[in-house]
């Protein structure tokens, strides 16, 4: 059901007219409640991560359009998003099976969260200014070639006038982003990179206009528009990288459509979380995530808390148990009395912690900021001292002195500097995105390059949080076949893992009859006339073992224990090995029991590990490491990692992590495989090297060109050459990134 942006209006009796039965209005029927929740028109967004080709487009669009009630469907292959317009009664749940049938995975997206309009508008605005600057640069350049190759007298003046007529409006229009930001930084009393840029643009244009009126030799119209073009290009690249990261991050957030099934007057209504209040009754089906904090009022089940506490073992829940938002209900339906919803829920309170840490991260000064902080004063001093020197030398020739200082401003060429960082960051984040890493924060790559210590969480990070059977070979096939039959009937993670493990050994389920699931305990059935049970130790009449296990009682002999180990995330072992090879410190901090954590640490060869670590202790450990001078990379996924993720120098969380953890981290790992993290460390170091190289390249151009300009030998041709050459070398250097 798509209910976004729609308000659920409660009609007042006055508004409903006079009724013979006031109670009918006071207590609307279940149908009416459901009808009120329905939106006027359905606009459904689905994410199709596997769509990649022309056939995908026509298959998916045809399959969806064939459904009754669908008006139009269009697949955007760039964003891998399908947008559907349909009659109001159509919901995403109607479309997803149809898409699955033609072989594609589809996830519902919350269109309300995908409001990229503001970013999109900014991007289009920049692109428009870039287009105008490109048009004028090409035309002015053509005219300038004639002047450079020796046009004289009236022809030169004519060409200068035409160039001016094109360049002046362009500079006014395309230069606006720089003028605005320069004005902002001047008002704040700082000299940003945009101040010398704006000054160069204005000075170059006005001196050229003046020279043209006086029919002088040199006009810098071409330099002014070229400057505007290259700088806008850098700005646009920067903007695009951020927009892509932001839209992907929003997509991740939109994947979890926050809704709750509220039980109201005997009917179940799907409501957005924002409209659930404390005191409401909420139904959570097996497999669903708790949308709110609450107390169980009816039902029995087991809940998976691994995302919140790091425990890998499910916890039983029955009437009276307290549950918090984010936990996953495993076996039976639960009805909760809401104690806190939305902004008040424990999940949301974590956001405060994150906000504090975010503020700390913006204090990091990037390489570009450091470069700008010495670059802009230097440029101004050079330009003004050239002006002063030539005023003195020529005995007060204002026109000549201004000409020289404008040439200095143009030739110091901030355009290479403006491209140096965005080009590298764009290339690097493109590389990482292809490997399945999403860079959310602008300076994350630079911080990543400094990392010398990596802290891992266990459940959900190094392990997938899904168990796999460990001791199947200790049991006879007959027992496994019975267990397989029972396990196939349940959606409990242990049962599913057991069923999968049994089938992988080529076994077939035994004939077990009357199978039923007892929520919170296990599965029961009849096999060869005997009652068989698969589930909790006490229920099967035995004592539990230390490891994660499920028990099978067949009515003869002692019940058997099937033990499980947590499945390692693919690439985890290789990553840890690679980190140890590169002599980075590796630490494992987990909220799980010592037995489980120790076994994993041994398996991966991590010497420094701690178990049963509380969330606050994790953050404290990270801070201790930071105080010891280490640059910490934190990799974690749960709510218990959120504070540590935020405290670390740079942080990564997998896409399966809880929303709060993803928000707190700088980089999101989109795939299941962990190996790209090693790539990210390598690429970030390379990117940092490229950025420094690029600064070096533009500095060396300046070392050659600035003395020329100071001496008064800089011609518009020299300025144009220096500018384009340095911009091109810088961009090419960025593209060398692999």
């Amino acid at each position: 059901m798509t209910v976004t942006g729609e308000r659920f209006e409660v009609e007042t009796p006055q508004g409903g007219g006079i009724s013979a039965c006031p109670a009918c209005i006071a207590a609307p029927s279940a149908e009416r409640l459901a009808a009120m929740a329905a939106p006027a028109d359905a606009r459904i967004m689905l994410s199709l991560p596997e769509a990649h080709c022309a056939v995908c487009i026509s298959t998916v669009e045809r399959a969806v359009a064939a459904l009754p009630g669908v008006r139009s469907a269009r697949l955007n292959l760039t964003l891998k998003r399908l947008s559907v317009e349909a009659d109001p009664q159509i919901t995403a749940a109607d479309l997803i099976p149809a898409i699955n049938d033609v072989g594609y995975e589809a996830h519902e997206l919350d269109p309300g969260l995908l409001s990229t309009t503001e970013t999109e508008r900014q991007g289009r605005d920049l692109l428009m200014r870039l287009g105008v600057a490109f048009f004028s640069m090409m035309n002015v350049m053509l005219l300038s070639v004639a002047v450079w190759s020796g046009a004289e007298g009236a022809t030169r003046d004519l060409f200068h006038w035409i160039s001016g007529a094109i360049a002046i409006p362009t500079v006014i229009f395309s230069g606006q982003p720089f003028f605005k930001s320069a004005w902002r930084s001047l008002k704040a009393g700082r000299l940003g990179m945009d101040v010398p840029i704006s000054l160069a643009l204005i000075l170059a244009t006005s001196i050229s206009l003046y020279e043209t009126i006086r029919s002088g030799h040199h006009a810098y119209f071409d330099a002014a528009v070229m400057l505007a073009f290259f700088l806008l290009l850098g700005r646009y690249l920067d903007h695009r990288t951020r927009a892509i990261a932001r839209s992907a991050a929003q997509e991740l957030a939109a994947l979890e459509v926050p809704r709750a099934l509220v039980v109201e007057a005997g009917a179940e209504i799907l409501k957005p979380i924002a409209e659930v209040a404390a005191g409401d009754l909420v139904l959570v089906r097996p497999g669903g995530r708790m949308p709110v904090d609450g107390v169980v009022v009816s039902g029995a089940s087991e809940i998976d808390r691994s995302l919140l506490t790091g425990e890998s073992l499910p916890v039983p829940a029955a009437e009276g148990s307290v549950v918090s938002a984010g936990e996953v209900n495993l076996t039976g339906p639960l009805t909760l009395r809401v104690t806190a919803a939305g902004k008040d829920s424990s999940l949301h309170r974590m956001a405060d912690l994150v906000a504090v840490a975010e503020a700390a991260k913006t204090r990091y000064t990037s390489l570009a900021e450091r470069a700008a902080s010495w670059y802009s004063p230097l440029v101004h001093i050079l330009s003004f001292s050239a002006f002063g020197f030539w005023m003195w030398k020529t005995g007060g020739d204002l026109r000549y002195a201004i000409n020289i200082s404008a040439a200095v401003l143009i030739i110091t060429c901030p355009c290479a500097l403006g491209l140096a960082v965005p080009a590298v960051v764009t290339a690097a984040s493109g590389q990482l995105f292809r490997r399945g890493l999403l860079i959310k924060h602008g300076t994350a790559l630079e911080r990543m390059a400094e990392v010398d210590c990596v802290v891992f969480d266990k459940t959900g990070t190094l392990t997938l949080g899904t168990p796999e059977p460990a001791n199947l070979s200790d049991h006879p096939d007959a027992a496994i076949e019975v267990a397989l039959a029972l396990a196939s009937a349940s959606s409990h993670p242990l049962a599913r893992a057991l069923a999968e493990g049994g089938r992988a050994r080529g076994l077939r389920p035994a004939r077990v009859e009357d199978i039923r699931e007892v929520p919170g305990y296990g599965i029961e059935g009849r096999w060869k006339g005997r009652r068989v049970r698969l589930g909790r130790a006490e229920w099967c009449g035995t004592k539990g073992v230390a490891e994660t296990a499920t028990y099978l009682s067949t009515g003869e002999g002692t019940p058997r224990a099937f033990t499980f180990v947590d499945r390692l995330r693919p690439g985890a072992a290789e990553l840890v090995a690679a980190l140890r090879r590169s002599e980075r410190q590796v630490v494992l901090l987990s909220g799980d029991t010592p037995a489980v954590v120790g076994a994993l640490a041994l398996r991966l060869g991590i010497e420094d590990w701690s178990a049963q670590v509380l969330p606050a202790e994790k953050a404290a450990r990270v801070n201790d490491l930071k105080d010891a001078g280490r640059k910490v990379l934190m990799v974690g996924d749960g709510l218990n990692d959120t504070a540590a993720l935020a405290a670390a120098h740079v942080s990564i969380s997998p896409a399966t992590a809880l929303d709060a953890a993803r928000v707190a981290s700088d980089i999101v790992l989109l795939g299941r495989d962990m190996a790209p993290i090693a790539d990210a460390l390598r690429i970030s170091q390379q990117a940092r090297r490229r950025i420094v190289e690029n600064f070096g390249i533009s500095a060396s151009y300046n070392v050659i060109a600035v003395p020329l300009a100071l001496a008064g030998h800089a011609t518009p041709l020299a300025a144009a050459l220096a500018m384009s050459l340095s911009s091109i070398t810088v961009s090419l250097n960025a593209l060398r990134l692999k």
């Binding site: 487009i57 292959l77 760039t78 692109l127 287009g131 048009f135 035309n139 005219l143 022809t155 035409i162």
Partner: protein, 52 residues
């Protein structure tokens, strides 16, 4: 050199057409799905008649 009086306006005019075309394309959201459009041209659907 009189030819300049014709050629310069002509070249500017042509460049201007390019600029207007670019702005039109951007306002019409032609750059929203570059990958999809590149692939859509390969499908045989709607080859015989336009999509209604």
């Amino acid at each position: 050199m009189e030819i300049l009086g014709i050629l310069i306006p002509v070249s500017l005019f042509l460049g201007f057409i390019g600029l207007v075309a670019f702005i039109w394309a951007m306002k019409n959201r032609q750059f929203d799905d570059p990958q999809g459009d590149a692939n859509r041209i390969l499908t045989k659907e709607w080859d015989d008649r336009p999509k209604p």
